[in-house]
């Protein structure tokens, strides 16, 4: 309990942010029409590729000869980058059908 309270008091503003972002995440998409479920999922998926930042930090912090980390980190970046680049590109393609026709 002590541990928990301590942890919370350390990360109190983090907690505030967490709560607000959860509200926000919920709020922001709560009115999505059914047709956009898949594109939205795809877009959100691309955003979840933000984990690439972690892989970048990890490699940058590694020393230049720490090959296990470098290799793991390389794959991390590779995979996450596929997620990011592919994700946004696929979403964009899906959304092409929503292009306004010229009236």
């Amino acid at each position: 309990m002590e541990l928990l309270l301590n942890f919370i008091s350390e990360n109190l503003t983090m907690l505030y942010i967490l709560v607000f972002i959860i509200f926000l995440g919920t709020e922001v998409i709560s009115n999505v029409p059914t047709v956009l479920h898949t594109p939205l999922m795809s877009g959100a998926n691309a955003i979840s590729g933000v984990v690439i930042i972690g892989a970048i930090i990890l490699i940058r912090q590694a020393s230049a000869d720490d090959y296990p980390i470098l290799i793991l980190g390389f794959f991390g970046i590779l995979l996450a980058m596929i997620n990011v680049a592919g994700g946004f590109a696929v979403t964009n393609r899906m959304l092409e059908m929503f292009k306004k026709k010229k009236k």
């Binding site: 972002i21 959860i22 926000l24 995440g25 919920t26 922001v28 998409i29 709560s30 999505v32 029409p33 059914t34 047709v35 956009l36 479920h37 898949t38 594109p39 939205l40 999922m41 795809s42 877009g43 959100a44 998926n45 691309a46 955003i47 979840s48 590729g49 933000v50 984990v51 690439i52 930042i53 972690g54 970048i56 490699i59 940058r60 912090q61 590694a62 020393s63 296990p68 980390i69 980190g73 390389f74 794959f75 991390g76 590779l78 995979l79 996450a80 596929i82 990011v84 680049a85 592919g86 994700g87 946004f88 590109a89 696929v90 964009n92 959304l95 059908m97 929503f98 292009k99 026709k101």
Partner: protein, 462 residues
């Protein structure tokens, strides 16, 4: 100071994510939304690359390598795949993101300084990240396989609920045990990793192919949580907030998707019984494709030309006024809207005329058989509303059919055909209709009037 600048830019990137997601949930702004989110991501990556580090060799070569190769693969795949294969592609991508979170946490374990205490928020977080990332990884792969078709729904586990429960408990117990140790035992980590990967598989396998979109959305929110946990590990705001954002909105999206299917999330996950509930209705050997209201609405709204083929079912449903509503709604969107009246549609000569006149459809919108048949080839969407025999190609092809020789409306020439009827029951002539199994045909089952009202609603929303 640089930290502040970085964090300020991160805040902008996060704001772009939020605005992007927001815009992604409206058809008109969705493309912009996607681009904004992508801009946010690029910004975050660049800032992360440029922020000075306290220690570390930067290793920009490795980073550049991973990024260039990853971007190349991602873009190529995204450009090449067929429209129909997109959902499985999303699943695959998502799995890769999960894998990255998994790799990061492995490295974290690997990096853990020997002397430091194990039982810290940091380590707990890392275990969580490992677990969530792994599930997301293998789970997404299974979902991909199911959608792509090389994994069969028939692949059934015995007592899946039990297996999952046991696996989960073992993973938690083992993690706790590992943390209790004075020294990190990397073997345990590997075992937990392995179990988590297996859990991802056993978690998704029992769920039916038709529910895969829901599962993908769920796994997507897992990846988001994984990213957030990684953010916590590095004390990195953009990962933390971006991850939570995806986690929260992904969860809501999952729930919304379940609602759209009239199911509960629990039902989808725990249930796992819906192996056959997937968007298809059998009839003999052949399978018809079902349309959703939403897809049909978007198809209609963004069409140039729509032709309605009314039949006896429209009369039975007394849907003429609702059709007229749809007509007005779509015309406001600039869609060309006509009616193709087959000479014997309905049950009396002029049946359709009477009803459409009642609904105040102007006469010039009515095409007769010959005119209509000329127009179908250039039509984006044909809505067949409770008509059956009059659009049955058997009349042209099947000499044994009782309707052979009757002129029909050649709706198969159109780019898309949506058939509104209640079931696969035949019409007046009592014969099956091959049109319903056609390449470009989708069925929208239900009473024509209520289906049409829902379509009108969706068109207004879309």
């Amino acid at each position: 100071m640089e930290g502040t600048t970085t964090n300020l830019i991160y805040l902008i990137c996060i704001s772009l994510f939020i605005i992007g997601l927001k815009k992604l949930s409206h058809p008109d702004s969705a493309r912009t939304g996607n681009l904004l989110a992508a801009a946010g991501m690029i910004g975050a990556i660049i800032v992360t690359l440029l922020t000075p580090l306290e220690s570390g060799a930067n290793n920009y070569g490795w980073i550049a390598g991973g990024m260039v190769v990853g971007t190349a693969i991602g873009l190529t795949v995204a450009r090449k795949i067929k429209m129909t294969a997109m959902p499985e592609m999303v699943s695959l991508f998502n799995g890769l993101g999960g894998a990255c979170a998994m790799l990061i946490s492995i490295v974290e374990f690997y990096n853990h300084p020997a002397g430091e205490p194990l039982l810290s928020g940091q380590m707990i977080t890392t275990f969580f990240a490992l677990f969530v990332g792994s599930i997301s990884f293998t789970g997404s792969l299974v979902a991909y396989g199911k959608l792509d078709g090389f994994l069969r729904d028939s692949l059934v586990l015995p007592a899946p609920k039990l297996i999952n429960m046991v696996l989960l408990l073992v993973i938690i117990a083992l993690s706790a045990y590992t943390l209790m140790q004075p020294q990190l035992n990397f073997t345990y980590v590997i075992v937990i990793l392995g179990l988590s990967l297996i859990y991802g598989i056993t978690f998704v396998t029992p769920i039916g192919g038709g529910d895969m979109p829901v599962v993908i959305s769920l796994l997507n929110s897992f990846t988001g949580i994984g990213a957030a946990l990684a953010g916590l590990i590095y004390g990195n705001q953009v990962m933390l907030v971006g991850g939570i954002l995806v986690g929260a909105s992904g969860t809501i999206l999952t729930i919304l998707m379940c609602q759209a299917m009239n199911r509960s999330l629990i039902n989808v996950i725990i249930g796992g019984f819906s192996a056959s509930g997937g968007g298809t209705a059998q009839s003999g050997d052949e399978v018809v494709k079902e349309a959703t209201y939403a897809d049909t609405a978007i198809m209609l709204k963004y069409a140039q030309k729509v032709i309605v083929v009314p039949g006896y079912g429209m009369a039975v449903a007394q849907a003429q006024h609702t059709v007229h509503d749809l007509e007005k709604t779509l015309e406001e969107e600039g869609v060309g809207f006509k009616y193709a009246i087959h000479p014997v549609a309905g049950r009396m000569p002029g049946h359709m005329n009477v009803l459409l006149a009642e609904a105040d459809v102007p006469y010039p919108k009515l095409l007769d058989l010959d005119d209509a048949n000329k127009e179908f080839a250039s039509t984006d969407v044909v809505l067949v509303i409770g008509a059956n025999d009059v659009v049955n190609p058997a009349a042209k092809t099947d000499t044994a059919s009782p309707i052979y020789g009757m002129p029909i409306l050649d709706v198969e020439q159109a780019k898309n055909v949506i058939v509104l009827k209640r079931s696969m029951n035949p019409g007046y002539a009592g014969i099956q209709n091959q049109l319903f199994f056609g390449e470009r045909t989708r069925m929208l089952f239900g009473d024509a009037k209520s289906s049409l009202s829902k379509l009108v609603e969706e068109v207004n929303n879309a």
